[in-house]
Amino acid sequence: MSSIQVRDLTAELPGGFRLGPLSLDVAVGARVAVLGPSGCGKTTLLRCLAGLETPRGGTIRIGDRAVFDGRERVRPSERKIGFVFQDAALWPHMTAVEHLRFVDPASSRDAAIEMLRRVGLEAHADRRPATLSGGEAQRLALVRALAGAPEVLLLDEPLSSLDVPLRDELALLIHRLCEERSMTLMVVTHDRQEALTMGDELVVMRAGRIVEAGLPARVLREPATAFGAKFVGGASALPVERGSNGSVSTPFGVFEAPSRHEGGLELVVLPGDIVVADDGGATGRVVRVVPAVDRAIATVEIDGRTVQVACAESTLPGDRLTLGLCGAPRLLPAEEIE
């Protein structure tokens, strides 16, 4: 079992993309999901950890060993890491059994088939990747990553190409295997559902930096940034105006500005933060209505931005709704466009 410790990591890729500086601690046996939009540096982070990219600076420790410290770089194959690539990256000319026996030449065919059985692929032992479905290919990639008995398992968008039932099935399988082997798990994804399914801890990245980190429930309920709230919680953000006396004016009324932040603010509205109310403070026009199990979800336009609110099934696009805020307003630092 190994922990991961990253300090002041920076990397630069061809094309000018810069990662970091960022620091991160992953405890032994933890399951961390790194969430962020495409191009934010998630995969680069993972590749730096695996040794497939050479960072410009910083340190990376896996377990009690510094695998990169600016001077020395431990080879990828010596880091005791299992890596599942986004598109599986299977070897097209090898059968499933040959995949496992290439990774562990000492293993017998029976042992390889036993490993395949763990992921339900024993019937496909002699099949090549081209004949496997997306889910089967991803399971083979997973068991190949495990065949080298890694202490850390890194997964790059492992579920992105799968449909929903297969996603749940594979997520459960990964959790089970990690628990059995007490492995530290880090998964990167741009899909918040995948992140919440896979990780016990959540790290949110944006433009090469970490903007949020913590337990998923905390990040969902108490986001530290408007970006985190929107990306993880599916929140909407409404513009606010700062008053001269330390107050801010929002579509829902005037509130006291948080004293800790001097820059621009946004009113972040999580699903459930607003309700349709006759005496609400904001009025908006319904632009879309999506039916749900026992109600409908309306997308309402307020001041040029949209929020979502539960509404009556009879609501129609074009209707005007009055909305009220439940609880205290979330006034968070506005996104800075870089």
Binding site: A89, L90, A141, R144, A147
Partner: protein, 530 residues
């Protein structure tokens, strides 16, 4: 240890590409009066050089036009339309490549007067049209039919065809440029047609004429001038190759496409059938039939043609040229393996590290074969080289020199083909192998090698066929003189068409049968790997 293939490949390039060409270049500035640029200052001053270069360029442009017309038409009809037997005809597009251009010329010259400029351009166009046909077909196969259909739905048939033309333009251009490069440096066919009465000469003929006269008192300038005069030629070819490589790099022919919808030819279906037949007849049928007639005794005016003459011709071919045949096939097979061994490491460097290697490796194609071979003579028949042979044994007069010269000449085909294949293999596939802890040798043998095996096989087959038909290098290098194609070209001067016809048919049979049989044996297995 795992660096060995790469080191060998780089050493090969340095010794057998950079050194001969470097020595030639050095000779243009190193005259009897010491270092100077007298040869360069008189570049193209000689009206004969200028005329020859002009003929070469005009001939190359004309024959390329013929090659495009024939090759593109063949590929378009067999891959894009509902032509009868298209499935059978399509793969045959590569077959004329097995026929040495000299045999095409000999075949046609037997039937018609081929001494003029137009017949010469036609002959070379026919000989090199397979490059256009094969690459155009590859382009058409690689276009996703849905791309075409979406343009068709959005803007109509004409717009869809225009988009298709843009998508395959890179492949067609690459084929045309290959045809151009080979024609402009072709020496064998123009020289053969001189024997038949041609009274104008190409640049490659001029270089060879100067080279042949070197023993009879030519000056330094006589030797240096054609080398310097090659500079504009090489410049044209390098630019053409650069453009071809850029076009190929920008072409978006990737993935696993859906086939293009076929165009219905309607009542023209059977009329259009004549075009592929013309292509195959010109490139393959005429030479084979004429050689067959020669073998049957058509040139002997005293005896009628008969099967007995055929039998005698083949017996004579085996008795008189059996060793030549064995030499030629052995050299071609060794060239095939050698080319793959040298190209694979260079292709990996080109694909994974720097594309500069792609450009460096096309240099042997940019130089006329005759000049490359002269570079070999200057390097490996020098006084200092002979001293080395005292220790190592004679290299200059051994078939090994012919093999390395062929490998050097065909290096662009190996490196460009394999580097394209390496580029198509996702880096993650190789990284997954690196992460699992297996050593570089295991990875090379179990991952990189098998992924490239089908392409290596194709490169080997192509090298085998090209080595069988290579005349220019075989003419200049004394060690290459036993080559069958050289013996065939001598028939023009010394007679013996009946035996020559049989020998040509044996050569063609080797060129076609060896790759075809090997593909039949291993093809399915290789396809399953790719």
């Amino acid at each position: 240890m795992h660096q060995l293939p790469r080191t060998v490949a780089i050493a090969f390039y340095a010794l057998f590409v950079a050194l001969p060409l470097g020595v030639l270049l050095w000779e243009t500035v190193d005259g009897p009066e010491g270092f100077g640029f007298s040869a360069w200052s008189s570049i193209l001053a000689d009206p004969v050089d200028r005329a020859q270069l002009g003929y070469s360029l005009a001939l190359a442009v004309s024959s390329t036009a013929v090659a495009v017309l024939l090759g593109f038409g063949f590929a378009w009809l067999t891959f894009r339309t509902d032509l009868p037997c298209a499935g059978l005809l399509g793969p045959l597009g590569i077959a004329p490549l097995a026929v040495p251009p000299i045999l095409v010329a000999m075949g046609f010259a037997d039937l018609v007067d081929a001494a003029g400029f137009v017949p010469c351009a036609l002959l070379l166009g026919i000989s090199y049209s397979p490059f256009v046909a094969v690459l155009t077909a590859r382009g058409l196969r690689s276009v996703d039919g849905r791309t075409y259909e979406s343009a068709w739905l959005a803007r109509g048939r004409f717009a869809a065809e225009r988009m298709l033309a843009r998508l395959v333009a890179a492949e067609v251009a690459a084929g045309a440029l290959l045809a151009f490069i080979f024609t402009i440096s072709e020496h064998g066919v123009p020289e053969f047609l001189t024997v038949k009465g041609k009274n104008w000469h190409t640049y490659a003929e001029g270089v060879f004429a100067n080279w042949q006269r070197r023993a009879t008192g030519v000056t330094h300038e006589d030797i240096a001038a054609p080398i310097v005069a090659a500079v504009p030629l090489v410049a044209v070819i390098v630019v053409a190759l650069f453009v071809a490589l850029r076009l190929r790099a920008h072409s978006n022919l990737r993935g696993d496409p859906r086939p293009l919808p076929l165009r219905r030819l309607g009542r023209w279906r059977f009329v259009a059938f004549a075009w592929p037949l013309l292509y195959l007849a010109a490139g393959l049928g005429v030479p084979v039939v004429v050689m067959g007639l020669w073998a049957a005794g058509s040139t002997d005016l005293t005896e009628p043609m008969s099967l007995e003459v055929v039998r005698q011709s083949f017996r004579a071919a085996f008795e008189e040229a059996g060793d030549n045949m064995a030499f030629t096939v052995a050299v071609a097979v060794t060239t095939a393996f050698g080319l793959v061994a040298v190209s694979a490491p260079l292709a990996r460097i080109a694909a994974r590290r720097t594309q500069l290697v792609d450009y460096l490796c096309v240099v042997p194609l940019a130089v006329p074969a005759i000049l490359l071979a002269i570079g070999f003579v200057r390097c490996f028949n020098s006084v200092s080289a002979v001293r080395v042979y005292d220790v190592t044994g004679d290299f200059y007069d051994s078939p090994a020199l012919v093999v390395v010269a062929y490998v050097a000449r065909f290096l662009p085909f190996g490196v460009l083909t394999l580097s394209n294949v390496v580029r198509r293999v996702p880096t993650e596939v190789e990284e997954a192998a690196e992460l699992c802890g297996r050593g570089p040798v295991a990875r090379a043998l179990r991952i990189h090698g098998p992924l490239m095996l089908p392409a290596m096989w194709s490169v080997g087959c192509l090298a085998f066929v090209l080595a069988l038909r290579e005349l220019d290098v075989a003419v200049v290098l004394p060690a290459g003189n036993p080559a069958v194609v050289r013996k065939l070209s001598n028939i023009v001067h010394f007679g013996g068409e009946d035996m020559g016809g049989a020998l040509a048919l044996l050569l063609l049979a080797s060129a076609i049968l060896v790759p075809v049989v090997s593909v039949l044996i291993t093809g399915k297995k290789l396809r399953s790997l790719s």
